[in-house]
């Protein structure tokens, strides 16, 4: 199963005068759910592209299951580590939703029968079966996002990197994407979410890696890191609502279920009164 080891990674874009990433080391093992957090320009996407070989380290190394990404083709890595672009329209080219999913399967040498079966399954899981013959560009924003993720998950990569999954999404769409990502985590696959939406990250990921100006300024349990006021401020982030609520109330283990939270609060309130 997949293991990503990053060691003293430095990265600089060609012609850039300064490093975009500096001295980054961490490892991600199978089944982990990791949020990469930080403000725009902190280097989140650059880091993600180093994790799947789209970019190669300027110094230091990134190893996938022990092999340096410099010695692997992007396609080889992609078979294990899927990457979903922040803009789903950057990947659509087929006339039909099903062919959009078929593209990756064909590239990775699935037989036509196997591909057909997989397409049926994955569209079903992602709630897109009714759009099978539709043009991807005619889907709504949330459906496009789900199709983008489905077209990667089709070949069952062991890890998935998702860049800014909540950008431009409304509340209902966010809940849908959250459900999809959580189900991938519960299968024991590794999910790496790049985002600045702290509430969303907190609802999916156990661990967080916080970047600021190309450096890791925090790596650990997401709840611990995002309860730390100084760290949160340094990374221009915000405390997730639930973590703040836990801190203020002394309650623990709150889940994003406002009905449950509210009844707990009411109970506590009534106890106070009596």
């Amino acid at each position: 199963m997949v293991k990503i080891v990053v060691e003293s990674l430095y990265f600089r874009y060609p012609e850039a005068s300064d490093y975009a990433l500096r001295n980054i080391s961490f490892r991600i093992v199978e089944g982990e759910s990791v949020a990469i957090l930080g403000e725009n320009g902190a280097g989140k996407t650059t880091l993600a592209k180093n994790l799947n070989g789209l970019l190669k380290p300027t110094e230091g190394s990134v190893k996938i299951d022990g092999v340096d990404t410099r010695n692997l083709s992007v396609a080889k890595i992609a078979r294990k580590i899927g990457f979903v672009n922040h803009n789903p329209e950057h990947q659509f080219f087929a006339e039909k939703v099903e062919d959009e999913v078929r593209f990756g399967l064909r590239n990775f040498g699935f037989s036509e029968e196997a591909a057909d079966k997989t397409i049926r399954e994955v569209l079903n899981v992602f709630g897109l079966e009714e759009y099978r013959g539709k043009n991807p560009f005619q889907l709504s924003g949330g459906e496009k996002k789900r199709l983008a993720i489905a077209s990667i998950m089709a070949w069952r990569p062991e890890a998935l990197i998702v860049d800014e999954p909540t950008i431009g999404m409304d509340y209902a769409q966010k809940l849908n994407i959250r459900r999809v990502l959580r189900s991938i985590v519960s299968e024991g696959r590794c999910v790496i979410v790049i985002t600045h939406d702290v509430d969303f990250a907190a609802s999916i990921c156990e661990r967080a890696i916080i970047l600021s100006r190309g450096e890791v300024i925090g790596d650990g349990r997401l709840r611990d890191l995002l309860s730390d006021d100084t760290l949160v401020e340094k990374a221009s982030l915000r405390k997730p609502f639930l973590i703040e609520l836990e801190k203020e109330t002394g309650l623990t283990g709150l889940e994003e279920d406002f009905d449950a939270i509210s009844s707990t609060l009411v109970e506590v309130f009534q106890k106070c009164r009596s």
Binding site: E39, N40, G41, S140, G141, G142, I167, G168, M169, D170, Y171, A172, Q173, H196, D197, V198, D199, S236, L237, R238, F241, L242, E244, L245, E248, T249, G250, L251, F258, D259, I261, S262, L265, V266, V268, F269, K271, C272, R273
Partner: protein
């Protein structure tokens, strides 16, 4: 005269079967700060395009009903006329700046209006000052951050001296801190324009209600091309909550609406701390 007046407005894009807008009745008075929100694809962006006259002039389709902006009938007023009273900032800042310096972009509108050069100069100075980006005057849009680009886009609308400012999801490409700073700047701008005797109307289309709430005079909720709620911000949010309309009601309010009757809360809390103290303080102490 109302800033915006829509009566039984319907619009269907050419080539589409479903109408994008149906029977919209909406009046917006001068000086209001209004949020238009609703699920994605509900017709918000179409609505603001009507206000600018881009619909029907640039987008073919079938427009019925009446639409007036400061008394101008959008059906037969050219966009360039409407643009002198009404300005819009779109979501993608990249596509709103066409030149190689912020200053030239800010001058672009007034140049099109064929104003005399010294008047344009004055307007450019003022617009840059109002948005607080004088230091970026000579920067190229390619070298600006998303937040800075969006401020430059606002300045290039301000130089047209509009009295109605429309923002169509201006923060959707920005991170939380740039979004907060942009929203802050928008309403500071309204205040400073109002101080100099104007009456600026702000219409903002957004998903991020939490950042905006304290600045609004009214919220309009659009769903499937219809206005389904319209009125006092807190009331509208509570109604949306009761009717389970999928808009981003801030979590704090979601809890407030659930507990307020049982716990007898009168006013909504502004922070988590406030909510907890309204409910009798931290549980560990109680």
């Amino acid at each position: 005269m109302a800033a915006v007046e829509l009566r039984k407005l319907c619009f269907r894009y050419a080539g589409s079967e479903k109408p994008a807008l149906t029977d919209i009745d909406l009046t917006i008075e001068e000086g209001e700060s209004i949020l238009i929100t609703g699920p994605s694809g509900c017709g918000k962006s179409t609505l603001v395009r009507v206000l600018m006259g881009l619909i029907p002039h640039s987008y073919p389709g079938e427009l019925k009903g009446e639409a007036y902006v400061f008394g101008m009938d959008v059906k037969n007023t050219p966009v360039s006329r409407i643009a002198t009273r009404c300005g819009i900032v779109f979501q993608n800042p990249d596509n709103q700046l066409f030149t190689f310096s912020v200053e030239d972009d800010v001058a672009f509108g007034p140049e099109n209006l064929a104003l005399p050069p010294d008047e344009i100069g004055r307007r450019v100075d003022e617009a840059l000052r109002l948005v607080g980006i004088e230091h970026l005057r000579h920067s190229s849009p390619n070298n600006l951050s998303g937040g800075e680009q969006q401020k430059a886009a606002i300045a290039s609308i301000l130089s047209m001296k509009p009295s109605l400012l429309i923002f169509d999801e201006p923060t959707s490409m920005l991170d939380p801190s740039s979004s907060a700073s942009l929203i802050q700047r928008i309403f500071e701008l309204k205040r400073s324009l109002d101080e100099t005797g104007g009456k600026t109307t702000v219409i903002i289309v957004e998903h991020r209600i939490d950042l905006l709430l304290k600045h609004l005079s009214r919220i309009v909720v659009v769903s499937e091309g219809r206005v389904i709620l319209d009125g006092d911000p807190l009331r509208v949010l509570e109604d949306s909550f009761r009717k389970k309309i999928p808009i981003n009601i801030p979590p704090l309010l979601q809890i407030y609406f659930r507990v307020k009757d049982k716990c007898g809360l009168k006013n909504p809390p502004a922070t988590v701390k406030e909510l907890v103290s309204m409910l009798g303080g931290p549980t560990s102490n109680g």
